[in-house]
Symmetry: C2
Amino acid sequence: MLKRYDPYPSRTGDAEQIIPRTDPVIYGAGHSDRPQGLSREQLAHYEQKGFLTLPGLMDDRLDTIRAEADTLKTTMAGREELYTEPDSGELRTIFKPHAYSETIARIARDPRILEPVKQILGSDVYLTQSRINRKPAFKGRSFAWHSDFETWHVEDGMRHMRAVTAWIMLTDNHEYNGPLYVIPGSHKHYVSCAGTTEEKNYRKSLKKQVAGVPGKESLETLLKDHTIEGVYGKAGTLVLHECNILHGSPDNISGDPRALLMFVYNSVENELEQPFSGQAPRPHYLADREPKVL
Amino acid sequence: MLKRYDPYPSRTGDAEQIIPRTDPVIYGAGHSDRPQGLSREQLAHYEQKGFLTLPGLMDDRLDTIRAEADTLKTTMAGREELYTEPDSGELRTIFKPHAYSETIARIARDPRILEPVKQILGSDVYLTQSRINRKPAFKGRSFAWHSDFETWHVEDGMRHMRAVTAWIMLTDNHEYNGPLYVIPGSHKHYVSCAGTTEEKNYRKSLKKQVAGVPGKESLETLLKDHTIEGVYGKAGTLVLHECNILHGSPDNISGDPRALLMFVYNSVENELEQPFSGQAPRPHYLADREPKVL
């Protein structure tokens, strides 16, 4: 029997290495006839940097999303998709809110998000993941540098880099409240990580990612040609974020929590296969295997 | 026997509270006839904000200090004042470098530092502490909000807020490499902390400060009227930093280490007494009890 070809091997027990990206960043023709489409300049920025910030774009949805998050805290009580702080009951994460709220599902189809995403991915798309996240004030924990695609490839069987994360800032994101840092340009390199993948690794990695985290040498190599950039903006800002860009986050010692609503769009031509780790797939609320075209 | 009067009680087992500062920030007349003195505007800035940044002031000493730190790594090997990483041998901290290096001692007397410090403290001064610190790239740990004075008062017996920390940036300090955050204006409030002080607390607190750390409610109260500010600058920048200003530091997930040389100047009219905690004094390299007037 032929061995299954893996274009982006990682955690295979080999030494860490940096592999060039073979997938494009922008699929399809690039232009858009729709008023919500990105301009040529915006697309070029996304292609080069791996992310794009659209200030103010979702201002008119903020109150709705915040109210809906409050409602979901009640209606989803007891479900494993809802994670609140054991001591205070404060919201930490709602996984897959679009499945439990028609309001959130509608926002995921908002043409101001969907049109740019389709323009980038050059096809119809579906949601492979969504979540509402809240990093608390004073004690928000840091997150190590990683590429989402590496995890989605190894643990979810996403073959190609053909997915976009779109997230809406629900609070201001500034330099002090544990913001997202990205390494613009890093999305054109794939860090094939050392180690292997444990069974049910996600149970650990949702708290602290250890597997699939590039080592010091890879980061030093990439940081020779690239520099770190903080993704800042007011509440209501939309960020489009390439699936393979390296990102991390320092802890939040400020008095301001940081919250966001995040959608991960995957191309219908890039549906999830069996995980390349050989392990069982992750739960549906981390990687949906029943695509519903948007 | 009369009970000893404590103007700034903390860790006495009582509930946390915010006490107004009763000490001035600027002692003495304020003006200076020396060319190295601070201007009226600079003094006013320090008085209001609790810190002052002087870019480029120590550029000409950078190479000397860096070379001296390297030398001290060898000449101080085996001493408890030298702390290097167990695995890599990388420098973490040199305590009291001015006692082991005439070069460093000379820099502590540099009139560009000493004159502003005396102008603020309105008297002769001595070094109560000094150190060279290096926060490593990628894994530099965060530091909780705290006032140095609180520790110096409780654990070292410094009665009044009449000390200045002057530190020289030995690397660039930017928003990504775990910089110092301050809360300008917080130096005019004293957070009397809950809890008590363990014997030899410094052994723990040098790694992670737990005692003398204001709680969430105090911070939230102070952050209603004050905002966090990052202390950034190029290598060679001098920072003057009031002893009671609240400061903290997020972790460093960037590829750039952050290093500094720090001197703590105390007024000769504010010599250390017995610690207000009732515990034994901390070691000489954390709190010098044999003042040498500079």
